[in-house]
């Protein structure tokens, strides 16, 4: 056997035969061309759902949280489920843009802008729920450490307050990260735009970016530092969200596996949501060469990995319940399996543990329709996971005499559906007016971008000609 190994070149990240100009045209044409009719239709539907949300919140503020299905002992219902679910969805964006950036994963460039936008809008949807859940939303500013008329200060030892800091920091840093990534692309749109309004608006957003290397040098440093900051941040946010549960004494909540388990679940659901949205957008906007099947397969592998981590966490929960010898913990786990919410438990087992196993098969990982279906099922499954954690643990706590069955009211359902209106309203605006793929970053991972590829490679050679010297009068 020969010790020589065969050199297998990496598959190209951007499929097809594109040069830098093609990439610009492919991505910049969407924000710069007239609005398609389909967009108006989708935007109208999203706006109707947004009105549903505003109506449901308005009625909640008018009437109080009694309109929800909350009871004793289930004081945390759909609002907290939806909060954790939406925050979890958001995590894929930061994971793709920060963690994969630090690991030098070039394939992230195809989806990072998209996923970051999803993060920001998902965190907005998430933030609504704890805010309206406080009941008296007009005093929500009490959560901030500002002296108020009662000279009272928030309790910094409460995990619920940690949440306030975690989620607001997460939102702000994601927004900064997103905007910094957008600056060079705003400059591209400014230079490509024909209409005056577009030129001026993109010009202001681009802050006068020229593409100067001295600027790129500081920019790359800033981007790397932001990625380095966002990486522990994204892990901390869902860890702190899990503290909301784990720091209490409720059986089924009081568990040390919660932080890693929540983080894995968040990435699992977030990747599923990116896949759902990406598979639609690449079709509509003709970005199949950039958001290609290879990238979908890599995302499916992340889905498979995190899905199995989540499955392992369920197993550990059962094992710890048995091994702890703590009857309340054993009781709650048994009630998950056969109790009043067993339908939820088995739904989540099917969605989160069984479904991702199909991704071991390569042909399913590379199949668009199958991936789309799996991504939807995973999103549903992750919602049920949060449902089981919040409701099943609370409703069947220590004393059977205190137990009560929780079911949502129409207002719970309308508020949840309404947040999709908020999400899609912003997401459609993003698709319409901003470059949905990071133009500069995609160019940077193309083989033509590396000066060394020109050294001994005739593929990129261009014929040299005498320079054109532009006359001075023409520069006015």
């Amino acid at each position: 056997m020969s010790t020589d190994y065969q050199y297998v070149p990496e598959p190209k990240l951007v499929k097809g035969d594109h040069n830098f100009g093609d990439i610009t045209d492919l991505i910049a044409k969407t924000p710069l061309s007239p609005t398609p009719k389909l967009w108006y239709l989708a935007f109208g539907l999203a706006n109707i759902l947004l009105l549903v949300l505003l109506g449901a919140i308005g009625y909640l503020i008018w009437e109080g949280t009694g309109i929800w299905g909350l009871n004793n002992p289930a004081g945390w219902g759909w609002a907290i489920i939806n909060f954790v679910w939406w925050v979890g969805i958001g995590h894929a964006g930061t994971l793709i843009s920060a963690i994969l950036f630090l690991f030098r994963q070039g394939w992230r460039t195809a989806i990072n802008r998209f996923a970051e936008a999803m993060t920001i809008f998902a965190v907005m949807c998430a933030g609504i729920f704890p805010a309206i859940h406080v009941g008296r939303i007009w005093v929500i500013y009490w959560v901030f450490p500002i002296p108020n008329q009662m000279a009272a200060w928030p309790n910094f030892s409460s995990p619920l307050l940690w949440d306030v800091f975690a989620v607001s920091t997460y939102f702000t840093v994601s927004l900064l990260f997103w905007y910094v990534g957008l600056i060079p692309d705003f400059a591209t749109l400014r230079d490509k735009a024909k209409s005056k309004v577009a030129k001026i608006s993109y010009g202001i957003a681009a802050l006068g970016w020229t593409g100067s290397f001295r600027n790129w040098w500081n920019y790359e440093k800033a981007y790397m530092i932001l990625a380095g900051l966002a990486t522990p941040l994204v892990l901390s946010v869902h860890t702190i969200v899990s503290f909301d549960f784990a720091v209490s004494v409720i059986p089924g909540w009081h568990s040390t596996i919660f932080p890693p388990y929540f983080v894995a679940g968040a990435i699992f659901s977030g990747f599923a949501m990116v896949l759902t949205l990406m598979l639609i957008a690449r079709k509509i906007y003709g970005l199949e060469d950039i958001m290609n099947i290879d990238i979908m397969e890599k995302m499916n592998l992340v889905l498979l990995l995190t899905g199995n981590l989540v499955g392992f966490a369920y197993l550990t929960e059962g094992f710890v319940a048995w091994y702890s010898g703590y009857i309340y913990e054993q009781g709650i786990f048994w009630l998950y399996v056969v109790g009043p919410y067993a339908w939820g438990f088995w739904t989540l087992m099917f969605c989160n543990v069984v479904t991702p196993q199909f991704l071991w098969i390569k042909s399913i990982r590379r199949n668009v329709v199958a991936t789309f279906i799996i991504s939807i099922i995973v999103n549903i499954g992750m919602w049920f996971e949060r449902f089981m954690i919040s409701v099943a643990s609370l409703a069947t706590d220590f004393m059977p005499s205190a137990w009560d069955y929780y079911s949502p009211t129409i207002w719970d359902i309308l508020t949840y559906i309404g947040t999709f209106g908020l999400f899609f309203t912003f997401f459609l605006l993003f698709l319409r007016f901003l470059p949905m793929v990071a133009i500069a970053e995609v160019k940077g991972v193309m083989p033509q971008a590396d000066p060394h590829n020109y050294d001994e490679n005739n593929e990129f050679e261009e014929a040299k000609t005498e320079p054109v010297v532009v006359q001075q009068e023409q520069t006015v």
Binding site: A151, T210, F213
Partner: protein, 182 residues
Amino acid sequence: MESENKQVHGVLAEFRNPKELVDAANSVRKSGYQDFDTYAPFPIHGMEKAMGIKESPLGWIVLGGALTGMIGALSLMIWVMGYEYPMNISGKPFINYPIYVPITFEITVLLSAFAAVFGMLSLNKLPRFNNPLFNVDRFDKASDDGFFVCIEASDDLFAEEKVSQLFRENGASHIETVYDSE
């Protein structure tokens, strides 16, 4: 005629690909020019060596932000929980450091991120909306598929003819003089 009362900002040359741009930057630096910059739609690897750029000081700015956040958050919580508004929660100590970790971490990250973004913008002297380079029509390509070098008139060695000659030797595809707007 108009051009006579305009200040020359510099000479801009376009190159065909990143490799030519790096080579051109190398030879511009070797010719002794200081006030020059290269423009490309994406950051090019190895350009910092070709241009002789020093490490960005941004890390120190971010460290400043991080320390401000950390010390600020800790002192706020110690003051509020220990002195201003002490609350007895399950008999735990008023100043209870472990519970300050999550918020301290978050505020540290928050202020570091602000320092990174605003530090980067101020190091790059942005926002800046008027730039003589924007007077050049071809310069639109710098955010698309163009690779440019500009030697600025502020450089001590600057002489229009000599600079154009240097670019020509390096195989520029376009050479153009840039004027200030005023």
